[in-house]
């Protein structure tokens, strides 16, 4: 079990949330080439260590937010970032 620190509801079991995944910078849809757009859609860093990721609190506050977590220890950073630069929230 993973306790996810929702910035609005406090710690909740990961099963109460939906994992959206690694945040990646979204290119400008009006200017981007299809290849770069697909890179944004599919390619991931998938690091072993610190990851900025998005969650959706589906059975709590029903909000999207980003958190930082270490993917090896599963420890969350204490200071959640509600809306980081470059991600669509």
């Amino acid at each position: 079990m993973l306790l996810v620190p929702c910035p609005h509801c406090g710690p909740r079991n990961a099963a109460d949330l939906r994992y959206v995944g690694e945040t990646t910078a979204r290119p400008d849809p009006t200017a981007v080439e299809p290849e770069a757009w697909r890179g944004y859609l599919y390619l991931r860093d998938n690091p072993a260590g610190r990851l900025t990721e998005m969650w959706y609190c589906r059975s709590g506050c029903r909000r999207y937010f980003t958190l930082e977590r270490d993917t090896v220890t599963n420890e969350f950073d204490n200071s959640p970032l509600p809306f980081p630069k470059g991600s669509r929230s």
Binding site: A14, L41, L51, T71, T73
Partner: protein
């Protein structure tokens, strides 16, 4: 395919002789000093890396090959999976590919001189909704067109095949039908891994356990496409050429590196400056105490997120879908066992008194379309055989065979062309989710 000659052959006569004399079997593969250069370096001693090494030596005569693993042979997914083998996939590309693997499994015991306990006991994928039944019909038709034994059957036939399933209409998720695939079954995963390791070793391939790759040396690249300075370094990335690898036991010069590290694939690719469409999720499995054999087929339920088979020793082996978030941590969870038990009892209420003995997890390299990533990358000499998700054990033999051909000939074989890395940039995905999300 050439048969192995060198080490002590496994045989009934040898077993009886050693039973009487107490003489022990020789080690299945040897330890070596690391050479300063190899023609091919394969990272990952799972079934994929070992099979590729074996077929390089057996089919193409390339034996100056090292297989490096940071742990031990089969310590990754290849020794942790639930060993289900089948070819009833959803796309023509997938069906043709996995069916070739079944062919290789069929002759493997003789080819590798090891008992892999391949049991073609039949494979049932249950449908509990109209939507699921429609997908089964679709799969059956795709399968039949390719000459695969696969059909949709109704509850009565299911009951006749597998009496312990509750096929009555009065359950919470009534069983409406199933995709039945008689050639599907199970295999002994350890024997397959060890068989390839032993046969590759006999042909001159060097297997190096406890040898972690810490970097890949690339010259002439554009600096990697990560853009955040964290990966690569200046000479890595697209346009570059591999010249060697760094390991915890020293540097090795090599023109060819094959990434066969499954759950760790993104980390190895980043060392060459290549980004992959992969996210690492753990998949858990569990096993019960042994009881008399009562479950003749493999049973999968996508709607209930569970599958089960019975081993020759009598244990029930269960699996489910991957844990719902990315991590490199292989700890098991109570969430998993609780949900698993509930869903298994929906299918087989009769086993409610059985006890779970163990649970474990392995890392799975999930791709967006549930198909693998195989072949060349934008870095010359850096090849991938990854993206095996929760379904890659069965693909070990065919992947090894095809990747060996890819390396030996420098051209992508037809069977794996649909799975190239550039399909993502081109938007040519090979969607297998409907056939691979739970039924591994």
């Amino acid at each position: 395919m050439t048969r192995m000659k060198k080490p002590a052959r496994y045989s009934a006569a040898g077993l009886i002789k050693r039973g009487i004399t107490g003489e022990s079997w020789p080690r299945a593969w040897r330890d070596h000093e690391l050479r300063s250069s190899y023609d091919v370096v394969i990272i990952g001693a799972g079934v994929h890396g070992l099979a590729a090494a074996y077929y390089l030596a057996a089919n193409h005569g390339i034996t100056n090959v090292a297989v490096l693993d940071k742990g031990y042979v089969g310590g990754g997914g290849s020794g942790r999976n639930t060993a289900i083998v089948r070819s009833n996939y959803l796309t023509p590309e997938g069906v043709a590919f996995y069916d070739r693997s079944l062919d290789l499994y069929n002759t493997m015991a003789a080819d590798l001189n090891i008992n892999v306990m391949f049991s073609e006991r039949g494979h049932l994928t249950l449908a509990h909704t109209d939507g699921a039944l429609r997908t089964m019909r679709w799969r059956a038709e795709v399968n039949k067109l390719q000459g695969i034994d696969s059909s949709v059957i109704g509850p009565d036939e299911i009951k006749a095949l597998t009496p312990s399933l509750d096929t009555s209409p009065n359950t919470r998720y009534p069983i409406l039908g199933a995709l039945y695939h008689p050639p599907g079954g199970t295999i002994r995963h350890d024997a397959v891994n060890w068989g390839y390791a032993r046969a590759a070793d006999a042909l001159g391939v060097q297997i190096h356990q406890n040898t972690e790759v810490t970097d890949i040396i690339v010259r002439g690249g554009d600096g990697g496409d990560r853009g955040d300075g964290s990966g690569g370094g200046d000479a890595k990335g697209p346009g570059g050429r591999v010249t060697g690898v760094r390991t915890t036991r020293g540097d090795i010069a090599t023109p060819i590196v094959l990434n066969a590290t499954a759950g760790w694939a993104s980390l190895i690719a980043a060392m060459a400056g290549v980004r992959l469409p992969i996210t690492t999720h753990p998949l858990q499995a569990a096993v019960t105490e042994p009881v008399k054999v009562f479950l003749p087929t493999v049973v999968v339920s996508g709607s209930l997120h569970v599958y089960v088979s019975q081993t020759d020793r009598g244990e029930l082996v269960f699996g489910a879908s991957v844990d719902p978030f990315a991590t490199y941590d292989m700890r098991g969870s109570l969430d998993f066992t609780e949900e698993l038990a509930g869903h298994v009892l929906e299918l087989m209420p009769g086993i409610s008194r059985m006890r779970l003995l163990r649970q474990w997890a392995g890392l799975c390299d999930m791709t967006p379309d549930y198909s693998p990533v195989m072949g060349f990358t934008p870095v010359e000499g850096f090849l991938c055989d990854v993206g095996w998700g929760t379904y890659g054990f069965k693909a070990g033999p065919v992947s090894g065979e095809q990747m060996a051909e890819c390396i030996a000939t420098g051209a992508t074989p037809k069977l794996i062309a649909p799975f190239s890395l550039d399909r993502f940039a081109a938007g040519r995905l090979v969607g297998e989710k409907g056939a691979a999300a739970v039924g591994h």
